[in-house]
């Protein structure tokens, strides 16, 4: 059974149709890529899945359960984590706190137990701190855990966002242009990390990316969007050969 199903999704902003009848099926533990020219509706698609917008038409279901109309925080608590194209970190919080914050959706201690420091809240704090340090170690930021997030370099901020998303213990991870602004070495590292995460954490990963090399290398399935419509969908080799994809996005060699 697919973990995420989008059925005939459309989204309108005023008169503009940003997405027009897009359907997708993402299988469990798949690495799924979405590509397309600027303004094709890739980020809009992410915002619909994560509940920032509510689709004008169509249904979205996660593990067979409809998530239409659910609020962003409810969707996060179901186990869908994401990163953002324009990095959205908690700039004036420490790196460690950014990752601990990511665990919010999977922790429960409320106002009174937090304020009075009851055992339950203390136990939870200890757990999420340990987990956050493991995640930071994994993305190579443990030695910067007390820095403010805003003081990190660009590539580090991207990695911190991934660590924060992982703290939510997601089953589905959405990465919005994770390699943007990275150099070749960092990109290779990122690819390794994505593979590793899928194997070790049993993650399904859906990613939007412009770097063709990265997408063609790690994605098992690719969907191509253009002007809000899906123009192709399939394994990388197939998509690479698709006439329309070449015309609208990959470009023809002169």
């Amino acid at each position: 059974m697919p973990i995420l199903t989008l059925n005939e999704i459309s989204q309108e902003f005023g008169g503009l149709r940003a997405l027009d009848g897009v359907s997708l099926q993402v299988e469990e533990q798949q690495i799924y890529g979405i590509i397309g020219p600027n303004g094709a509706g890739k980020t809009t698609l992410f915002n619909l899945i994560t509940g920032i917008y509510d689709p004008s038409e169509g249904t979205i279901s996660f593990r067979g359960q409809s998530i239409n109309g659910a609020k962003a925080h409810q969707i996060a608590s179901l186990g869908i984590a994401r990163t953002f194209q324009n990095i959205r970190l908690f700039q004036k919080l420490s790196v460690l706190d950014n990752v601990r914050m990511g665990s919010f959706g999977v922790t429960r201690s409320g106002f009174w137990s937090s304020m009075l420091g009851l055992p339950r809240s203390r136990r939870e704090e200890k757990e999420i701190t340990e987990k956050a340090e493991q995640l930071l170690d994994r993305v190579g930021l443990l030695n910067k855990k007390m820095e403010y997030a805003v003081n990190l370099a660009y590539g580090e901020q991207r990695r911190l966002e991934i660590a924060r998303a992982l703290a939510l213990e997601p089953t589905l991870l959405l990465l919005d242009e994770p390699a943007a602004g990275m150099n070749a070495g960092e990109k290779a590292e990122l690819m390794g990390l994505i593979y590793e995460l899928r194997e070790q954490m049993k993650l399904t990963i859906l990613l939007v990316e412009h770097d063709m090399n990265l997408v063609m290398n790690i994605c098992e399935r690719i969907a191509v969007l253009d002007y809000g419509r899906k123009i192709a969908d399939g394994p990388p080799e197939e998509v690479k050969q698709d006439e329309r994809v070449i015309q609208s996005y990959l470009g023809v060699e002169a």
Partner: protein, 298 residues
């Protein structure tokens, strides 16, 4: 106890200390709303007046014990904070500020016409129960609980809302609920401060809780540093003492405030202690020690 203290300390200074304590409680409440959660509230005096009038009327007309009327005042303020928070916290920035100003004005006009509150004349002859020991015991308790709260899951979520609401939401934070929570806690402290104020001053009237009082409290939070507890303590202390020191130029007090904020914006845009962490200070000290040691060794 206070009588004992006055043997050693001039009553004038004791009075200032008590006012500092009350302002600290009020400012800590506003700090949770504006400093930590980032929701600009310019009507904190409204919550203060709710606490002040509720507790004063309970003490005077129903002969309630002091602790009970104090608690009731704080609870009424918290209730209003929650009720007002639910519809308004969907607004952001300037819009929220305007609504909170409007709310505080409504409360003020209400008490201006409120028979049991003595209308414009105000309430006089409130029993003076607030004393130094009580105020600073409360300040100590509130600081400890406040620090714990800000260091916890809930406090972190409040800071996260201030830093980036969409990202907070994507971490699973129900931002509306958390904002209402911050508003409720903040107005509880506002009401508590108001109750203490009423039972210290003998006398309250609606003008005491006008717009300028809200601004004064906001200044304490901004001056000290948004979201910082030590900053708020310093801000409240400085801005309680400043009018006393500037007594000679009393009418120019506002000018002084304005100038102070402008200077602050230029030199420390995050407030005096807004971006200072104990961790950084420790690190700097450690480095200095290392340097000093290296120096003596060489």
């Amino acid at each position: 106890m206070d009588a004992y203290l006055t043997q050693y300390i001039d009553p004038y200074y004791l009075r200032l200390l008590i006012l500092i304590g009350i302002n600290i409680i009020l400012a800590l409440g506003l700090n949770i709303i504006t400093g930590v959660t980032g929701q600009l509230s310019m009507g904190h005096a409204g919550f203060m007046s709710l606490g002040a009038y509720t507790s004063a009327i309970l003490s005077m007309q129903f002969a309630c014990p002091f602790w009970l009327s104090l608690l009731a005042g704080a609870m009424v303020a918290a209730l209003f904070g929650c009720l007002i928070g639910i519809p308004t916290l969907r607004l952001e920035g300037d819009y929220l500020a305007m609504v909170t100003i409007g709310f505080a004005e409504i409360i003020r006009v209400f008490f201006l016409n409120f028979e049991p509150g003595g209308k414009a004349v105000g309430l006089a002859g409130i029993p003076q129960h607030t004393n130094f020991v009580l105020v600073f015991t409360l300040v100590a308790i509130i600081i400890v609980l406040n620090a714990k709260l800000l260091n916890s899951r809930i406090g972190r979520a409040w800071y996260a809302i201030r830093e980036n609401e969409i990202a907070a939401e994507s971490c699973g934070v129900d931002t509306t609920r958390l904002k209402v929570m911050a508003f409720t806690v903040g107005s509880f402290l506002g009401g508590l401060g108001g109750g203490l104020y009423a039972h210290y001053m003998y006398f309250i009237r609606p003008q005491d809780f006008a717009f300028m009082k809200s601004i004064e409290l906001l200044n304490m939070v901004v001056l000290g540093g948004m979201g910082s507890i030590p900053g708020t303590l310093i801000g409240a202390t400085i801005l309680t003492l400043a009018p006393e020191l500037l007594r000679v130029v009393a009418e120019y007090r506002l000018l002084f405030y304005g100038a102070l904020l402008v200077i602050l914006m230029i030199f420390r845009p995050n407030g005096l202690l807004g971006d200072v962490r104990i961790y950084d200070i420790r690190k700097r000290w450690a480095r200095k020690e290392v340097q000093a040691n290296a120096h003596t060794n060489s």
